[in-house]
Amino acid sequence: MSGAALRPAGSRRRTPGQIVGSVLGALATLALVLFAIFPQLWMLISSLRPATELFISPPTLFPSSFTLDWYIEAFAGSNAVRWFANSLIVAVATSLISSAVGALAGYALARFVYPGRKLFMVLLTSAYLFPAILLLMPLYLMLANYRLVGTLPAIVLAHLVITLPLSTWLMKSFIEGIPRELEEAALVDGCGPFGAFMRVTFPLLRTGLATTLLFSFILSWDEYLFASTLSNGSTATVPVGIQTFISSFDVRWGAIMALGSLVTIPVVVLFVFLQRYFEKGITAGGVKG
């Protein structure tokens, strides 16, 4: 730990003040990390606790034994398998459509000057900033008109409004990161614009595409408002399904924590593997939520 000072530009030797500062900094960081991750840890611990230990007052910090009973209960007494299947279908469909459409639009924005480009950017920004709750009623009415309410495609359509601006924005910034000269070289060598894209740009875009897919997947997987109003019993996604546990007469916290952990784990795993891209994505495009 040679560079403990905030900006080790001056001398390397540390004054007592700097050492105290470093210790305080480390303690503050530790406290902040605890603040950030305690709720998730508590959710996991609670989901693994036997009922006799879950419902005692005051609660104990560390469980004396672990059990999978709550997970079994969560699946045995509900349509949880169905909810996970629905969530997966919706999130995969949303992220595939959103990334494909977003890649095309992002490519156009990054590479071409065309009439309506500026208008399209305004549309994109408005869609990104538009609050979902204001769209709820008119979107619901429109989908009800076409008898789509209660179906998975309706949820996918609604999720596209949320994910598409971000997908387009992300793809635009990734494409801008690829030197245009590479494509131009391909054009000179006799490729058409489409061929130049497929042979040169596309292979270089794989990480960008993965990031975009990941982002739209997570946004769709997490979404509650549209999924809850546009689904019915058989098309509920996980966030919607978990809610049914809480509205029932007695709140089954153990089962809720079990489902909460299960809905969180895929997101955290994706995030751990793709942290670098995730950070780039947030700073490049910004995310709602």
Partner: protein
């Protein structure tokens, strides 16, 4: 742009470029028109009707819905809560985000992992966050509530989410927890881009750490702070999920904000015409804010 239009059907690379640009943007444009623009347009019309989910013949009521807005006591109360919610959340998220960014901006080993852990609240699905906070704050078995009760800060068996005096403050704290990592990451990225020579020059001039922070770090973060306030502010104003999933706007409306109020008008009372009028009013207000913000920014840039 005119030049582009005239050459749209011509030959040559630039005409082809324009055609490709348009056709590549087409699918996204269609999605936005169908799922966003058209519903919003219909929403404007709905505001002038007495409309519910079952009504076959919606009646034209002119500006009645908009007049009702001015007399809706609950709505005005929720507006006050919305302001508290937005300002409180922003101050907390940006403040804690900046503090966190300064903490992780050290060349220590393992900082990548610290960053990863600090980002967790932002990554975890909102439904899971809302539920685990409810559980931790549960009046009988919650680890936080029972602790507060032992200290005498809370009545026995009570949850801070269930008290009229503390419900709004509690959801704001949960929202700060959830949103600070975003501000942290944005601040951290812009800390990286500050020119180190400025700090070196200040050290030569004998400036201490506090002076360096006030006169170099903060001014360099001003513009990114403005962007954060704009984007997060706009988002937080009408953010629905977290409040709905923790308190549903209660108890007794004490944490009711515009978004939860609007949701109840739609899904609870089915007064769609009135909901449309509220949505139009809020939407136009937000648009005005954005336009003023953009104009201000342009004027500031011109100076």
């Amino acid at each position: 742009m005119l030049r582009g239009r005239s050459g749209l059907f011509g030959r040559g690379l630039s005409a082809q470029e324009r055609r490709l640009g348009l056709s590549f943007s087409l699918p996204a444009t269609v999605v936005f028109l169908v799922v966003l623009a058209y519903p919003i347009f219909e929403n404007f019309r709905s505001g002038f009707y007495d409309l519910d989910l079952v009504g076959k013949n919606p009646a034209w009521v002119g500006f009645d819905n908009f007049i009702e807005i001015t007399q809706d006591q609950k709505l005005w109360r929720s507006l006050g809560n919305t302001l508290t919610w937005t300002i409180g959340s922003l101050v907390g998220q940006l403040g804690l985000g900046l503090a966190a960014a300064l903490l992780i901006d050290r060349p220590w080993p393992g900082m990548r992992w610290v960053r990863q852990l600090l980002l967790m609240p932002y990554v975890v699905p909102v439904i899971a966050s809302a539920l685990v906070w409810q559980w931790m704050l549960d009046g009988n078995y919650g680890i936080i509530s029972t602790e507060f009760q032992a200290w005498g800060l809370l009545p026995f068996g009570a949850s801070p989410l269930g008290q009229e005096s503390t419900s709004l403050l509690t959801v704001i704290i949960i929202n700060v927890w959830r949103g600070f990592p975003f501000a942290m990451l944005v601040y951290w990225a812009s800390l990286q881009s500050i020119d180190q020579a400025q700090y070196e020059a200040a050290m030569v001039d004998g400036a201490n750490a506090v002076q360096r922070f006030l006169h170099i770090t903060l001014p360099n973060l001003a513009s990114v702070t403005l962007s954060l306030i704009a984007v997060r502010g706009l988002f937080t104003l009408m953010y629905f999920e977290l409040i709905w999933l923790t308190t549903r706007g209660g108890p007794a409306g004490s944490s009711d904000v515009m978004s939860t109020y609007l949701y109840r008008v739609i899904m609870g009372e089915f007064r769609l015409g009135y909901a449309a009028a509220i949505a139009v009013t809020v939407g136009l207000f937000l648009l005005a804010v954005v336009v003023i913000f953009q104009l201000g920014r342009r004027l500031a840039a011109r100076r």
